[in-house]
């Protein structure tokens, strides 16, 4: 594992260097980016090679004399490491030009410092093999990412985001504490492997608590409230990392605990699956309703976490129903989607970052027609959208294809599993459709049509490193989408690391599936080429005219008359108004000839809505009622002492 630790050291060292060299900004950025990306590259290579082989690497350091910091790198860890380092690498590259306009060198340095800590912590989280190590890295991860979220703390909104995130991650960590506390309490060992020897009831408890804890990090539906606030607040390359890989550490936690518990109850599968479907559908519905580009992407992360969980749930149900094929398909789909999502989500966030960087606004309805000036950004963003909508021939389709397959395998099963699988399939279908609507909306409103405000007029897309990393990611999305067979072994390694009792899984059937995907993608390409040929044949020597858009008889169309994102989503959101209530504010029309009026509409997240009324307010009320204790009168204070003694004397 030395190579792994070397990578970590390089990364952290780079962070420290950045802090030291904060004064001379250019040099600092250069060094930081260099060493961070060097470390990530090393890590990627390391993880990739480890994924080739199938042996487990362990390392352990003595800690506070009696305890030990244990690390273990099996297929599962290596798989996550691969994604983490890959995305971090590209994000680091991206940041080089993204952070260039920052006037505060010290803050940029701090940003790189905490970024390096975040990368290291994520890597350590997925490699830790006992409770102490895990919680340690986990908390470091939360802390460093918090500082990254409040990078622009001048705006109250970002401060609130940071606060929400801080509290949520801490409470989540507490839930994990409980889960691990139960483990230690019953086994007396800090080692993860001890989990296997728990009693059934304990296993249920451990799973539930850790699911809540990790779910709050991953952004599973009721616990996702922090996510759409925090991710947009951070600088875009950070959002890319957070959305791309950091929330996956939550998924990692769930999977790891599940595999360690080694307990084939269907209940876990059902819980995960239902949670997945709910977060998937609601996530994309809320995404559809957002007017903030990055927040919309954040919600779509909730959706994709949902998809991942569906895959996971299918896998778990398959295991508990004793259906190996279903199990492997589900898990494989889950892992594949983890990888894919980390690719296209970071791509999309980078695109959004470019837009924000150049136009200075995140409001979707303020943009438009960017594709004309931002060709590469637009193209890559469209590729990303196609991928995230799970359309062939892009990588999103591959993972969903696997998950569908697994779910259909479940159709043949008994009652509950059957219903669950129907739920999963229909859920996936609806998610797919909504995602398509959601991303056509973004592309249509942000990149196409005419600029709606001056912010979107004559922009450019300078910044080589930003473009490069976006291009790489887009290329990856396409290549994986066409040749999934090349990477199928990675998720498979992860699956076989789960310790399901299937021995080593035969890859042939999956190669066949991926082969089919490749073949059909090829067919599609062929037909498209054919049609293009046909078209050019028809167009040879034809006159191509240019004119304004046909306004159906209206001759003075303005950019303001375009369909806005809100209106585009309106009818769909109406359908889901039960889960996504819409609040509308507009000043009443006054006077005989009303001149100016305004209209604001916002989609409410029910989880956020109820969190305030059901949890925060009661708690505050309760504690407010207690405040009179300290009411300043010394006589009462002495009375407390007397009271304490008298009460205690009763127990003698």
């Amino acid at each position: 594992m030395s190579q792994f630790f070397m990578a970590i050291l390089i990364i952290v060292f780079g962070g420290f260097l950045a802090l030291l060299l904060a004064r001379q900004a250019k040099l600092m950025k250069l060094i930081a980016v260099f060493s961070l990306s060097a470390g990530c590259l090393l890590g990627v290579i390391d993880a990739g090679t480890k994924l080739m082989g199938s042996d487990i690497y362990t390392a352990s350091f003595s800690f506070l004399r009696v305890f030990s910091l244990g690390f273990q790198m099996d297929g599962l860890s290596a798989f996550f490491l691969f994604a983490i380092f890959l995305v971090s690498l590209l994000a680091t590259l991206y940041s080089f030009h993204y952070m260039d306009h920052a006037q505060k060198p010290l803050r940029v340095a701090a940003n790189y410092f905490f970024f390096s800590l975040l990368i290291a912590a994520m890597a350590l989280v997925v490699c830790s093999s006992n409770i102490i190590t895990f919680m340690f890295s986990w908390e470091i991860m939360s802390l460093s990412s918090f500082f990254l979220v409040i990078y622009n703390y001048e705006s109250a909104e970002n401060r609130r985001a940071g606060y929400l995130y801080f509290v949520f991650s801490h409470v989540g960590a507490m839930f994990i504490f409980v889960a691990f506390g139960i483990v230690y309490g019953l086994t007396g060992s800090f080692d993860f492997t001890a989990m296997g020897s728990l009693t059934e009831t304990a296993k249920y408890l451990v799973f539930i608590f850790s699911f809540i804890g990790f779910g709050s990090k991953a952004g599973v539906f009721p616990f996702h409230v922090w996510l759409p606030h925090a991710h947009p607040a951070a600088p875009s390359h950070i959002s890319a990392v957070m959305s791309g890989v950091m929330i996956k550490t939550g998924i990692y936690g769930i999977i790891r605990v599940y595999s360690l518990l080694d307990f084939n109850t269907p209940v876990f599968g059902y819980i995960v699956l239902v949670a997945g479907v709910i977060s998937g559908v609601l996530g994309v519905v809320y995404a559809l309703g957002q007017q903030d580009l990055k927040r919309m992407l954040a919600y779509s992360s909730v959706e994709n976490i949902g998809v991942i969980l569906i895959g996971l749930g299918i896998g778990m149900v398959g295991v508990s129903e004793g259906n190996p094929l279903m199990a492997v398909l589900g898990f494989a789909g889950c892992f594949f989607h983890i990888l894919n999502h980390s690719l296209f989500k970071s791509l999309l966030f980078m695109g959004a970052g470019m837009v924000l960087h150049k136009t200075g606004t995140r409001s979707i309805d303020a943009l438009g027609g960017l594709l004309k000036n931002m060709k590469i950004t637009g193209a890559t963003f469209i590729i990303g959208s196609l991928a995230i909508s799970g359309l062939p021939p892009f990588n999103g389709f591959v993972s969903e294809f696997f998950i569908y397959f697994g779910a259909f395998k479940g159709i043949a099963l008994g009652k509950t599993a059957f219903v669950m699988c129907i739920f999963a399939i229909v859920g996936l279908a609806v998610i797919g459709g909504l995602a398509l609507a959601c991303f056509t909306r973004v592309i249509g409103v942000v990149f196409q049509g005419e600029p709606r405000t001056s912010a979107a007029v004559d922009v450019n897309e300078k910044g080589a490193t930003m473009l490069i990393s976006m291009l790489i990611l887009a290329g990856a999305c396409l290549i994986i989408g066409v040749f999934p067979g090349a990477l199928i072994y990675m998720p498979m390694k992860a699956v076989s690391a789960l310790g399901l009792a299937y021995g080593n899984i035969p890859l042939e059937p999956f190669y066949q599936m991926t082969g089919n995907i490749t073949q059909s993608a090829m067919i599609l390409f062929a037909v498209v080429l054919g049609v293009i040929a046909l078209r050019s044949f028809f167009y040879r020597g034809k006159t191509i005219g240019k004119s304004g858009t046909w306004g159906c008889g209206f001759t003075q169309p303005t950019a303001k008359m375009q369909y806005t994102g809100s209106s585009y989503a309106g009818s769909i959101l109406e359908f889901f108004s039960a889960a996504a209530p819409l609040t509308v504010e507009h000043s009443p029309i006054s006077g005989r000839f009303p001149l100016k009026t305004d209209y604001k509409s916002r989609i409410n997240d029910i989880a956020e809505l109820h969190m305030g009324t059901l949890i925060v307010r009661p708690v505050l009320f309760f504690f407010d009622k207690l405040r009179w204790i300290q009411h300043g009168d010394i006589h009462l204070y002495i009375g407390y002492i007397l009271l304490a003694i008298i009460l205690l004397l009763f127990f003698i």
Binding site: I629, Q630, H631, G632, D633, I634, H635, L642
Partner: protein
């Protein structure tokens, strides 16, 4: 025949009852002084052997608690013109009733405990308990800061009684401790009282309620 210790202690109990009824500070101070003197005399009559050092200690205690401290406080309130009311939170009649009930209760409680060292003295335990609770009572039920200090002294008397009579082990060190405690504690309290009086022209603790949530 009744043992001298019990005679003394009955006097102490009497002083306790008086203190409940007293409404003026000088009166209260006198009561406390008397109480201090009598309580400090108890060790002489109780069975434990008295070393020379013990005698010195006891006498010193007697002087300090019976005379010096009360005198200081008395002069203090004589010098600065502060209100002489003890400003009760619980009224005098209620206090007296409480006192009676307290003594009965204390006697009852002390029946429950078995203390071989002092089984032959009937009144030791009741008096000690009564003094403790009275002190607490004054701390809780009197707004006048000086009255509270006096209550504190009474409480210390109670503890002194317990410390000196219940067990022979710690006699001197306990006495020493209490001595130091009362001396230093009351002195510092005195200083603070001075300041309070300077700042607020009063020692009514109702004025000391600004620090709260």
């Amino acid at each position: 025949m009744i043992h001298p210790v019990d005679t003394l202690l009955s006097l102490v109990l009497l002083s306790v009852l008086f203190s409940f009824g007293t409404s003026r500070l000088p009166g209260l101070i006198k009561v406390v002084a008397f109480q201090g003197v009598v309580a400090s005399m108890v060790p002489f009559f109780i069975g434990h052997d008295m070393s020379a050092g013990g005698v010195v200690f006891t006498v010193a205690t007697l002087l300090i608690r019976g005379i010096i401290i009360p005198l200081c406080i008395y002069l203090a309130i004589k010098k600065v013109a502060i209100r002489r009311e003890v400003e009760p939170i619980v009224g005098y009649h209620a206090s007296i009733l409480f006192g009676l009930g307290l003594i009965v209760g204390a006697t009852y409680v002390s029946r429950q405990l078995n203390l071989p060292a002092i089984s032959q003295y009937l009144l030791v335990t009741p008096t000690a308990v009564a003094l403790l609770v009275t002190g607490m009572f004054f701390l809780i039920a009197r707004r006048n800061a000086i009255a509270m200090v006096l209550g504190y002294i009474m409480m210390e008397n109670g503890i002194y009684l317990v410390g000196t009579t219940f067990s022979s082990h710690v006699r001197h060190i306990v006495e020493f401790g209490i001595l130091l405690d009362v001396l230093a504690g009351v002195m510092i309290m005195g200083i603070i009282l001075q300041n309070i009086n300077k700042t607020f022209d009063d020692v009514d603790t109702a004025l000391l309620r600004t620090l709260k949530e």
